[in-house]
Amino acid sequence: MSAATSVLIIMTIGTYALKSAGPLVLGDRSLPVRIQQIVDLLPAALLAALAVVSTVGDGEQITIDARLVGLVVAGLALWRRAPFVLVIVLASAATSLTRLVA
């Protein structure tokens, strides 16, 4: 079995357990405040890390290339409240142009 299939199976089971715990088991009891705070903050840490690693990561080394230009342009577009499609198009175009010029 390939790694991608193993991860798929583990994540299918685990994600469904997380999704269904409320409706099937917990009902509408609220989560403890401490846990709720951690749950609220986790995505910020992980998504920031994913943005960084997918931009400059290259196996076990840091590589600065045209992707960084794309990320900066994406940040500017988000700051100007651009919709998702535009953010992706601008980031890709900026990266592509940087490669042409460099």
Partner: protein
Amino acid sequence: MTGEDQSDSDLARRRAIRRQAASIVAAVAPFGIVFGAAAATAGLSMWQAVGYSALVFGGSSQFAAVEILGDGGSIASAAIAGLLLNVRSLAFGVIMARALAGPWWQRAAMSQLMIDESTAVGAAQEDLRWRRYGYLVAGLGVFGVWNLTTVIGFAVFSDAGDLITDLGLDAAGPAAFLALLWPRLMLPAQRRTAVAGALIALALIPVAPPGVPILASMLGVAVAALWPPAEPAPTVDEVSS
């Protein structure tokens, strides 16, 4: 109120909720295409890509797993990072539980649709009946569009290795992660957590196997907690965004 007024207002209500859901469902489409392309780039098969979209059905977690796998990360680090991104479904389930009451098999089936978009549309309605309606309309709409666009993205970009770098599409992943992060930077605690998470990951890239820097970033939550100006507890504000 007569019976007719009642059904007229029901119809108007249904339409209003479908409109809310439609804009959210449409916003998912380009993201699905980017996921399909990312899965193709990471070397997944079409069936694996669709498997992630239909069975896991959790946008950012699918991206995270595929990114880590494509980078040569271990099964454990890809699965754990993906699952950590879905821990918030637990909170969504608690929010939606009362609106989804019914026989266990119905609750079990409806749970698969527990994502940001369905919870946002559901939780925006006042009474339980409409919360359930909004949850189901948005959840089913996103499910259909997400899987369809995954297939499209995969098909278009599966044989396009050079095209992906020529068009700068390898920046689409980073841009997508940043776009997902953006609405979660409203509170100071979220910003501190994001900065801490990013720095931890950056520092670990050269010394840890792929995937580990992303997992370690969750320590950013602890760093943000130890570095606290007093402030009110953050709530599940992402649900209303």
